[in-house]
């Protein structure tokens, strides 16, 4: 069994391996915020790792470091066996297609003046991967993947519901056929009924495309429906880690217990 999650990959060949990640922000008044304070984990190919924790515990900061959207203050990130911590812009750009992110708020993630088709095609066009009829066909296939009607390509974001917009964001993230997807609270801004639909789509895609996810949420019940393993975060540190079933059935930390007890549930009848 692993003694320290900082150094021991749980998987023989993890797709992603984060080692001793630290992020210090310099807030106003010269104050230092240690948003992430020595976090390590690994995600096996095809695995879904959940990160839970209350607001401000450092979840999104980890997500952004892992994708190199912000620079870690310390620590290393290995992706598919390659150390990407110090990778230059050009090499990182090529890697972008392999790792994508979906954010919490689908309303602000889409440009209101672009059609859905244009939004989904954008990464393909930027990386000049497809054009013309081939591009059109790729967009159709992506709409199919997230169960949106193909006719939606002509619509604008304001004509779509929140759940539909989030499907578009997922389709766009899948455009470059990534192996690894970071989902940062993809359902927190949505209704419970729409959340169920999105979780279902994510489960299907994972099976169909053998995707690997890092799934962030503050709701443990949501994590439980999708994830294999879970990290519980508090104040920038990992307080508990393990297979979802084990952690939920028998949490070793009082903090995890609090998170579990917080999930609204129906009274036993």
């Amino acid at each position: 069994m692993p003694t320290s999650p900082d150094v021991t990959p749980l998987h023989p060949s993890p797709l992603l391996h984060a080692i001793g990640l630290v992020k210090v922000f310099h807030a106003s008044g010269g104050r230092e915020v240690r948003a992430v304070d020595g976090v390590g984990f690994s995600i096996g190919t095809g695995e879904v790792l959940g990160i839970v924790g209350e607001s401000g515990s450092g979840k999104s900061t980890i997500a952004r470091m892992v994708l190199r959207l912000i620079e870690p203050s310390a620590g290393r990130i290995m992706f598919a066996g390659q150390d990407i911590t110090a990778l230059g812009d050009e090499a990182m750009r090529r890697l972008r297609g392999d790792m994508q992110i979906v954010f919490q708020n689908p309303h602000s993630a889409l440009n209101g003046r672009r059609t859905i088709g244009e939004a989904i095609a954008e990464p393909l066009r930027v990386q000049t991967i497809a054009r013309g009829a081939a591009l059109h066909a790729r967009v159709d296939r992506l709409l199919d993947l997230v169960s949106l009607p193909r006719a939606f390509r002509h619509r604008y974001p304001h004509e779509l519901s929140g759940g539909q917009k989030q499907r578009v964001c997922i389709a766009r993230a899948l455009a470059l056929e990534p192996r690894f997807l970071v989902l940062d609270e993809p359902t927190s801004a949505l209704d419970v009924s729409v959340q169920a639909q999105i979780l279902d789509v994510l489960g299907e895609l994972r099976r169909e495309l053998s995707l690997t996810y890092l799934f962030i949420s503050h709701n443990l019940a949501v994590v439980r429906t999708l994830c294999d393993r879970v990290l519980v975060m508090s104040q920038g540190r990992v307080v508990e880690e393990g297979p979802v079933a084990a952690v939920f059935a028998n949490p070793s930390q009082a903090y995890t217990r609090t998170l579990l007890d917080s999930v609204p549930r129906l009274p036993r009848i």
């Binding site: 209350e54 607001s55 519901s161 929140g162 759940g163 539909q164 209704d191 419970v192 009924s193 729409v194 959340q195 169920a196 639909q197 979780l199 279902d200 489960g203 503050h218 709701n219 443990l220 019940a221 949501v222 439980r224 429906t225 939920f248 609090t258 998170l259 579990l260 007890d261 917080s262 999930v263 609204p264 549930r265 129906l266 009274p267 009848i269």
Partner: protein
């Protein structure tokens, strides 16, 4: 006996560019003093419009196209602006989903609570309370909503407080006039789960201690079940099922209610695929005929598209509007 609040066959249309949207389509609800009612339904089904209409702050160009709303036996449509001043924030208070929108960023919490306390005194014809008294009473209100360090909070500006603290301040503001009715529109939706649980516990506690009459609105059945004795399920401008919370949860009769329950991920028990409700809420400008739920309903038959199902009773307290509900 007169209900505190009675909504009778209420219809509301909102003009839009593409024609009028039939946003409320014959709502019937009644609430006695001391009762707690939850209204649950997907976003866009008309919950907020209903809540705001009760308070006379509905969408500007909206028109009532039938029915009425009675508060303390009086038709709210007949209230003058002066009448409303004695009602809004006094007899009926509301808390909203996004506390930031309803707190003034430029004034301290103490100042905003103090102003509310002074306004209530004025409304009751009492002399204006002095500075020290306003501060004491503001601190009491914050203590009532279990805000830690109330003195520090009084001197803080809204942005210096966390989301959970701001929601507590808003609840304190809502309670400052000792309202007869509290309407809470998605009071916990914007909060993270731990804070959500704390705010729900606080509301539960206030209901018990102050015997508040509450209408709580949410898209999350779990949150509603934590607080209210009765539940009304809304779909596309209609109440489709209503009854005691325990009974509706134990024996949901409407296919939509079942879908909402199946969408809720569970923290224990078998991990199952979340069924949820397929599809999305329809346009209210050109709503489906008959039962508005029929395009998404797996049990729909020809009659569902042809005739609007009437509310029928399964037992004296539990009713449902569905042609195929099993009432036996």
């Amino acid at each position: 006996m007169n209900a505190l609040l009675a909504i009778e066959d209420y219809h509301l249309a909102i003009p839009t560019f593409d024609g009028p949207a039939q946003v409320l389509n014959g709502i019937d609800l009644a609430l006695d003093a001391g009762e707690t009612l939850g209204i649950v339904g997907e976003s866009g089904c008309g919950k907020t419009v209903l809540a705001r209409t009760i308070l006379g702050i509905g969408p500007g160009r909206a028109a009532c196209t039938g029915g009425r709303i009675l508060f303390e036996g009086r038709d709210v449509a007949a209230f003058s602006e002066r009448d409303w001043r004695g009602i809004r924030g006094v007899k009926i208070s509301m808390i909203f989903q996004d506390p930031m929108t309803y707190l003034n960023p430029l004034f301290t919490i103490g100042r905003q609570l103090g102003d509310a306390i002074a306004a209530h005194a004025r409304a009751q014809g009492a002399p204006r309370p002095g500075r020290a008294e306003r501060r004491t009473r503001a601190a009491e209100l914050l203590a009532q909503v279990a805000l830690r360090e109330p003195q520090r909070a009084l001197d803080s500006y809204p942005h210096q407080l966390s989301g959970g603290m701001r929601q507590r301040v808003l609840i304190a503001l809502a309670l400052s006039g000792k309202p007869r009715l509290l309407i809470a529109d998605e009071p916990t939706t914007a909060l993270d789960v731990t804070v959500q649980a704390q705010v729900l516990r606080l509301l539960r506690d206030l209901v018990d201690r102050l015997r508040l009459t509450v209408v709580m609105i949410s898209h999350d059945v779990g949150a509603i079940a934590a607080l209210t004795e009765r539940i009304a399920v809304m779909y596309a401008g209609n109440v489709v099922e209503e009854g005691p919370t325990t009974r509706v949860l134990a024996r949901p009769l409407h296919p939509y209610t079942r879908g909402l329950l199946a969408a809720l991920p569970a923290i224990d028990g078998e991990i199952r695929r979340l069924a949820g409700v397929p599809g999305t809420i329809p346009s209210l400008i050109d709503p489906p005929t008959g039962c508005r739920f029929h395009p998404r309903c797996s049990r729909a038959t020809a009659i569902c598209a042809a005739e609007r199902p009437a509310m029928r009773r399964a037992d004296p307290a539990h009713s449902v509007a569905c042609h195929h509900a099993d009432l036996s």
